[in-house]
């Protein structure tokens, strides 16, 4: 039993791509998002509550999850606008903005522990949303929130 510490700067990795292969950490054409400030995995189920005559407390069951990956990152020119590098990964070529604009389905893999075999991951499929790049003279570097709205289940796995 141990907590997962990310202070080494190489533990938390998010890779995305237009296919499962391109969206896998360590994949040749995987787009690994740099400069992430914070990231949150939302796997919140809905809840339906109901009352019965033979119980003093409400009963409940959970309903399907709303799954999301939300993060804030600094805007990297190539990652946000695409590098048109002719890779097999359309998300790399189009960038986050292009993938959001085109409503491209993206496959993603988020590692909690790094890129070594056996490190724990969560993966899934979804769509990029929630881009809102902002900058000011007080915070003079472009940064943006990014949301991956998941289409279906999140899957726990390993590298």
């Amino acid at each position: 039993m141990a907590v997962i510490n990310v202070t080494d700067g190489s533990s938390c990795i998010l890779a995305i791509g237009n296919t499962a292969v391109n969206g896998a950490i360590g994949g040749v054409d995987a787009l690994e998002i740099p400069f992430i400030n914070d990231i949150t995995v939302n796997a919140s189920t809905g809840v339906t509550r109901y009352k019965v005559l033979n119980s003093a407390s409400e009963k409940a069951f959970t309903t399907p999850s709303t799954n999301q990956i939300t993060l804030n990152c600094l805007v990297d020119e190539a990652v946000f606008f695409g590098n048109a590098g002719g890779t097999t990964n359309k998300v790399t070529n189009d960038g986050l903005f292009g993938a959001s604009n085109d409503k491209t389905e993206v496959h993603f893999e988020l590692s909690f522990e790094g890129s070594t075999a056996g490190d724990k991951t969560i993966s899934g499929v979804g769509y990029i949303s929630g881009l809102a790049p902002t900058v000011s003279m007080e915070q003079a570097v472009w940064q943006t929130p990014v949301t991956i709205e998941c289409d279906g289940n999140l899957t726990a796995g390993t590298i």
Partner: protein, 131 residues
Amino acid sequence: MSKRTDLISKITTNLSAYTAFTVSSEMPFISGGIPLYEKNMKTIYVGEQNIGVGELYDTLDGQVINETTTNINAYLSVDAKEQLTNIDTVIAQILLARNGIANTVTSTSEYDTDIVNDVITYTFEFNFTTV
């Protein structure tokens, strides 16, 4: 160019209409026990820049975006007995020199005064932040 060089250049430009004043590129060192700006009144001396680097953004992939703060003092001494009629505008022009420094996200300037015998010394403090 360094911020100090840029600042000297900008002060020189701003004071070009005030021919009684000059801007020196020398450091305001002490000569014979007297600072140069007191020895050469109506000459502006710009001190060495002091630089501090801090962390603006830290990221989960270990990359750091730094913020650099540069602090520079400048000095001007004039006769305290007979104040120059245009000293207010001269001071204003020196303070405004902060606006001409390129690639800064914030810049501030202020001054304070000190009178010793019949000499009033204006000490200007400029602060520039770059990313």
